[in-house]
Structure formats: C-alpha cells, structure tokens
C-alpha cells in the first residue's frame, strides 16, 4: 500500500508536466542539431568544463598503462637484457650515443618531413584527451579548439598518416571522426594506379580497426599491399596524406563495383599526439 501511495505521489501532474517540457526541449535540440549540424551549446559547455579533467585522467591512464606494460614484459625484458649485455661488451660508448642520436634524428626528421614535404600546411599540434563512450563509434577529442583556429573538416594526422577529421569544435576542444568510424568519408586514391574511390568507415570493419575504399571498378588492378592516400578532390582535405594499405579486395553484392579493405597506418586507439592541418594550399 505504501509503495502504491508513493507511486501516486510521484506521478503528480507537476512531474508529468516537467517531463513533457523536458522531452519537448530535447526534441527541439535534436531537430536543431540534426538540421543545422551545429553543436548544442549545453553539451559544448559541459565538454569544455570536463576537457581538462579528461586530459588529466588520460595522462594518469597513460602512466598507469606504461607501468603495466613494464611489469607484464618484465621477464622478457630481463632475458633480452642478459643477451644484450654480452653484446654490449663489444660496443663502445660512442656507438651507443650515436645510436641514440640517430633514433632521435630519424624521429625529428619524420616530424619535420611533414612540413618540408607540405610547405603549404598550417599545422597545430594537439593532444588526445578523450574518446567516445562504448563501442558504437570511434571518435576522439583533442585538447585544441576554435581558440586555436581549429575548424570543422580540418584533417587530423600523425607522421604516419591520416587519423581522421574534425567534426565538432568548441572553444577549448574538438571532436574528431577517426578513419575507422562508420560515419567517416573522404576522397582517396590508390598511390600506384591513381584509381580514385571513397575511403569510408564501416561498422563491421571498425571492430577490426579497418576501413574500406569503395566504388572501385570491378576490373580494378588494385593488389594487396597497395597504399591509399587522400585524393584532395573537392578541396576539403589536402591530397597525398597516407591513409593505409590494402588488406584485401572484395566485390560488392551488386557485382558492379568492388571495395578494398584498408588497414590504416595509424592505430587510432593508441595515438596520443596528432597534428591538425588548419590550412593548406588547394592543388587539384
């Protein structure tokens, strides 16, 4: 009896009215964001408030992950260390220093190479601060936003290749649709044959960390191992940014076209620092 009374009290006219008003407001927000593609100011504000917190937690998680990796691989490292010790006796100190310097040099050259190869790029370095909850999407948030000149559709990359593109921008952070997300679409071509297609995410392939290059001709001579890069068509994204390598070629159910499954060069689940291309010279 007590429970039934409580239920009656709770489902008062006032509560029902409040729920109806909230539902109407939410539907209004859904229509507004769906029709305009603009971000909702409430979620944008919350995202801005939480982004420093997410950044902090992500850094702590990175440190914890490194610690875990250290302990998990301890035995292997110990064994390897014993072997290396016997070899290292033969090496001189200057050779070790030279190796360290060479590694550092290679890494810096790779980073610098992006700018050297693409002098028209205006780049912004950003840190990954969060990811989308659950397994339904593959989006990441970066710690740079419109205050740093970031805009929607700016391409995001590392020295290895394309990570995705900016889909939502707030003043202090931005959201990136990664190359494997099922909503991702970008013009792409096969480097060797220059055959064009559309690189797009696919829900089934997202699970294995891949994407597909669609709308290839049935007689396409794409082969496993071919590299895929952005085509630059339409001028939305710069051309020549590496996307990944062809893993397999599949004929579509309609039999008219085929698609290639691409393994991205960048593992979006592990990337921590990225470059955002804020501006570039359109050369089609």
């Amino acid at each position: 009896m007590k429970r039934e009374d409580a239920l009656k009290n709770i489902f008062s006219t006032r509560l029902i009215a409040a729920v109806i008003i909230i539902v109407i407001i939410c539907l209004g927000v859904a229509v507004y964001t769906g029709a305009t593609g603009n971000a909702n100011p409430i979620t944008e504000g919350i995202g801005m408030a939480f982004s420093p917190l997410q950044q902090g937690i992500t850094r702590v998680a990175e440190i914890a992950g490194q610690g875990r990796a250290y302990f998990e691989g301890y035995d292997a490292i110990e064994q390897e260390n014993a072997e290396l010790k016997s070899r290292l006796r033969e090496l001189e100190q200057n050779e070790r220093d030279a190796q360290i310097m060479k590694d550092e040099n290679d890494r810096l050259r790779a980073m610098l190479g992006i700018k050297e190869r693409n002098t028209s790029f205006e780049l912004e370095l950003a840190e990954v601060i969060a990811r989308s909850p659950g397994d339904w999407a593959s989006t990441i948030s970066l710690g740079k936003g419109s205050n740093n000149g970031i805009e929607i559709d700016d391409l995001v990359m590392t020295e290895d290749g394309m990570v995705g593109y900016v889909s939502n921008v707030a003043p202090t952070y931005c959201d990136v649709t990664t190359v494997v997300d099922s909503n991702m679409q970008a013009g792409a071509l096969i480097t060797r044959t220059r055959e064009v297609g559309v690189a797009e995410g696919d829900y089934a392939l997202m699970k294995e960390g891949s994407l597909k290059l669609s709308y290839l001709e049935p007689d396409s001579d794409v082969v496993i191992g071919d590299t895929v890069e952005t085509s630059g068509r339409g001028g939305v994204y710069p051309k020549g940014i590496m996307v990944g390598t062809v893993e397999r070629v599949v004929t579509e159910n309609n039999g008219i076209s085929s698609y290639a499954v691409i393994k991205p060069f960048v593992d979006v689940s592990k990337v921590t620092n990225v470059l955002i291309i804020k501006d570039f010279e359109v050369t089609e």
Partner: protein, 168 residues
Amino acid sequence: MRRQNPFLKFMLYLLFLVLIYVLCTAHMPFMLFGYHIDLLPCIPAAIALMEGPAWGGLFGLLTGVLYDTGFIGVDGLFPIYYLLFGILAGAVSLRFLRRMFPSMLLLSMCGMLVLSIIRYGFAMLLTDGMPFALVFQSMCGEILVAAILSPLIYFPVRGIARKFDRML
C-alpha cells in the same frame, strides 16, 4: 530528528556520475574481453532503484546529456531515452523490486539492451552494412562487461542513499 539534505545528496550523486563519465571516456588502452568499458547506464538504474522515479529521471536526463557530450551527431535523443528509462526504472523499482544488487543488474541490462536495439534500428534507417550478428555480439559484450563491473556503481550509490536514509 535531522532533515534530509537533498542538495548534498544530489551533489554527491552528480560528482559520482561525472567521475564515472570521465573514467569511461578517458583515452586509455584498457579494455575487458575486447570491449570498451561503459558503466554510465548503470548509474540511473542504481539511483532509480534507491531513490525512485523522480531521482531516476533526473539522473537519467543528466546521463543522457553526458552521452550527448561524448558522441558527435544529433543531440537530445540520449537525454530523452535516459530520462524515460530513469522514471520507468524508478517506478518498477518502487512497485516490484527490492533494493538489492540483482535488481540494479536487471534494470541496467534491460536499459542497455533496449538502447542497443533502438540504436541498431536508427543505424539501419540511416546506413546499411550493419550486420545484426556483429551488433548482437557487441551488445552482449558491452552488457557483460557492464554487468561484471556494475558493483563499482551499485555499492557507492547504495552508500550515498543509505547515508541519507539514516539522516531521516
């Protein structure tokens, strides 16, 4: 007799919700059985079980807003779903369920299952190439992971609820 302070209780629940959201969206390589950990749906379920439909609806709404923040795309649908889920879960809890862990597990699993089916339906409307077997596998995985880790939600929520119950 001391009076209950609903604002303090609200703030404690809110802080807990924010903490879980930040942890679930942190960019870390930790997964369980190959699935990302998402415990957010357990929070409105646990609060609805402990506090009833009004609190369940309120925290359902807040959970939905956080989901909107975490995803790119149309906003406003997650808050509606979780608002209604929180109210319904609270009403069912008052009428049929005891305030114990299996009840929260049942509510959370039902909430996640219905949401997954709705999402699959929407995804089918908008895109093709979403095989049900894969979605089903993903759905089961997410629910299993949430079920395994749900005590991490249930016991803190129960702790807050009991603390304020004693103050009545």
